[in-house]
Subunit: 484 residues, 2 copies
């Protein structure tokens, strides 16, 4: 690769200040495995007057791992640096649904690091990832399936909300090659621990490093440098795209709850496909911040829904999430989520009495009212379809009225359909009442008969006739509307 | 991969219409090598009622290549399709500076295809690149060094200005795998030519196909599909970025000539690094449309100049191009380019006579005038530094005046520096006259003496004194300024 130690070191000073934004006041917690990378960063920070605590984590993956801890401890003690040690049998985590030893080890290590960083009021957790790690991460993402996010590399400074919401993870060595850290350690006379598992090709990342990269170098000896440069360039483009997505996100986001995010489908559909994909990824990321790979297929399923704009659709996404589209809204949500229903009247499952001259509260600001009115106040024509009021012959209705949700087998004989009754379930489908809203749609009943499917036509038996002398007016009101 | 021929075919119909925008009226020119890919696309177009001409190009790279031409000719004749044949010993092109057999073959083939497409009034040149080609191209770019442009794949429809400025290159099979085209040909009973050079790993692309991709599949058997998906996603992001760059480009572009592009450095520097990189790439692309790889280093050199904002700098870029920055302008230009000089007075190399009471035209609307004025009209104070006028003792000056450019050894004794003379070359450097402007800077001479370095202080010997009775006024005027 061709490198120059003094250049590298002066560059590193600049990176610590400008990119990592590390200050001299509060300590950093430096994760030191004992390898050349982490020793290099710890020694460099110490040499340049930064305050640091040396942290070592023993994953107990093989016998003798504690001797490494001792070497790192000695490194700290020789420099009068505080030393903290974490230990865990990380293999035990495999049983808890973690997929690989590497993931288990990483989880355990970062939990330990951020716990101590908080305890010690550290300004950052510092790790020794190098330019080689950057290249390997690129290839790892590529082989697993990735977009700009996965291919644009690790940043120098990053707030990994998964581990801590205020303490950043800092990687000063991302532009320095592993060979350079080795040369640094040699020059500084530092005792480097060589982790024997680094040469075990049964770990995916090791196989990348030990086999894939040397193989790619037979195609082009500069491939490592070229991929590193690609990562830089894509990192810049990712920032540009992120700004665009931030803007779009703030426009399309309608609301969110613990287990759902609501977006405006119509606005989403005005953006180009690429932006729609990023919006879906961001919505998924909000609900599943730890999810590492959001598959192309899941994103395409969601984007397909935006483009089809059916009145109602529900598709499976990924990791226990679904996407529900309904009219001009869509929800990315957990399968179990209770999605908010704001545009329709909804009632509790327990029946409620509705007295004449009163009103009952439904969900989300809706109300259902009953009052007795003059015969003369009835509007001249019958209104079909969706109506907020209905007028009934009070003489035919047995009081009190009950408001309840539908039951299996519910039927209604509607006014205007001479004699024929139909299933309430079918009626709701025919009227295109959104599926999610059907379960809790308010039905006004008199004794065992349904008088009114709120908002639609009333029952035939209590219709207004020329003989009607006492009139009941039922009204659906949307008092406090949360509809945009 | 799992594929389904009927699905693939109905998808292809849609792609031809929506993505490729191929119509039924005018013919397309379909490049048919005789392999499964190109036979598939030609047969499909014919089957679906499109008008087409079958074109075959014989690269004469190996004996027997003309038998393939015959098979393709037969394919065309059986269907009553027009057939055109091109032939060239493409290896001969290697001597002309082309780097590889593949590049020579591609150049010869596309020249032939677009020449005939124009002649036959074809609406497009159609080629049989598949999803596999898309994946291989991604990997080829990655191994050579690439940004979003190289990694985001070939488009379905593209106007390749290198070959033709109106006829697009169309690739309908980009979402169809090579195996699918083979299955198609089998099902349709088409005789497929197997090109023996396809299995020659000495060609870079063949080695990718035959060795690298199968090797990557040992890491993840779905890698081809995953990379194809990555290409799709990055393609969308490239479109987003392109829109941003289009906007930025129209703001920063000041002008351009045959061999240079002028940008506004100050405006460039207001954009994020990623955008600056794309602007530089676009400027290079304008001057070198055929250039396949614009190196990271070249772009970083240019971007570094934007950020340093020196008053003058010149750096080498790539492919015989340089970048010149000067004050608030920068030029991406051929090394030999004559850059426009608009902000300074410049004169031709041949000396010109300047008579009293007249003016001579300099470049870009500048003028230099001489007139005799009253002693009383001289401004009260001597002005130092850059001045547009100077007043001289006409008695001391031998007429006529000559205006010329500098010569080696030119010296001047300036007014105000008692007795000391200095080299004109040094004076220009000290006065920070931009390097590019020095060669043609107008010097006003009387006999063999320099009277005035236009715009600066005049010579000591002809300064205004209390004895001055006749006054010569020299004036530099910027009549038609092209300065923004």
């Amino acid at each position: 690769l061709g490198y120059n130690l003094p250049d590298m070191l002066s560059n590193l000073k600049k990176i610590l200040q400008d990119e990592c934004q590390i200050g001299f006041e509060r300590p950093t917690l430096v994760a030191v495995s004992g390898g050349a990378d982490s020793l290099c960063v710890a020694d460099f920070l110490h040499q340049h007057g930064y305050s640091l605590v040396v942290a070592h984590f023993d994953h107990k993956l093989r016998p003798g791992s504690s001797s490494e801890a001792n070497i790192v401890k000695e490194f700290a003690q020789q420099r009068d640096l505080q030393f903290v040690l974490g230990e865990e049998e990380v293999r035990a985590r495999i049983k808890e649904g973690v997929t690989s030893v590497e993931e288990a080890a990483r989880n355990a290590r970062y939990e330990f690091l951020f716990r101590y960083a908080e305890e010690l009021h550290a300004q950052a957790v510092v790790v020794g990832h190098t330019a080689d790690d950057q290249v390997e991460t690129f290839l790892m993402h590529l082989l697993r399936g990735a977009g700009l996010g996965g291919l644009s590399g690790m940043p120098y400074r990053w707030l990994p909300n998964t581990w801590h919401d205020r303490i950043p993870l800092v990687r000063p060595l991302l532009s320095i090659w592993r060979e350079e850290t080795t040369a640094y350690c040699q020059q500084r006379g530092l005792e480097v621990v060589v982790d024997p598992t680094n040469s075990d090709p049964s770990y995916f990342r090791n196989r990348l490093r030990l086999e894939l990269i040397p193989y790619l170098e037979t195609f082009n000896p500069s491939v490592r440098k070229l991929i590193w440069q690609t990562v830089q360039v894509l990192g810049g483009d990712r920032e540009t795209i992120t700004q665009i997505i931030d803007q779009a996100w703030s426009r399309v986001l309608v609301g969110s709850g613990e287990n759902y995010v609501t977006l405006d489908t119509v606005l989403c559909s005005t953006y180009p496909l690429a932006t729609q994909r990023h919006l879906i990824r961001r919505a998924i990321g909000r609900l599943r911040p730890g999810l590492r790979d959001i598959s192309f297929e899941a994103v395409e399923r969601a984007v397909g829904q935006i483009q089809q704009s059916k009145p109602f659709a529900e598709v499976d996404l990924i990791a226990g999430l679904k996407m529900v589209s309904e009219d001009d809204r869509m929800w990315i949500a957990e399968w179990s989520a209770e999605l908010p229903v704001v545009d329709w009247p909804q009632v509790n499952v327990d029946p409620v009495t509705l007295d004449i001259g009163s009103a009952i509260d439904l969900h989300q600001g809706w109300q259902l009212a009953a009052e007795q009115v003059e015969v003369g106040s009835i509007p001249p024509q019958a209104i079909d379809g969706v109506v907020n009021q209905t007028y009934l012959d009070l003489e035919r209705i047995e009081m009190p009225l009950m408001v309840r949700t539908r039951k299996p087998g519910d039927r209604i004989q509607l006014s205007g359909l001479q004699g024929r009754s139909q299933k309430v379930a079918d009626f709701m489908i025919n009227q295109k009442i959104p599926r999610r809203a059907r379960e809790k749609w308010p039905l006004v009943c008199s004794s065992d008969q349904i008088v009114w499917v709120a908002g639609y036509r009333a029952a035939h038996f209590c219709r207004i006739t020329s003989q009607t002398s006492r009139v009941l007016k039922l009204e659906l009101r949307q008092g406090i509307s949360t509809k945009k």
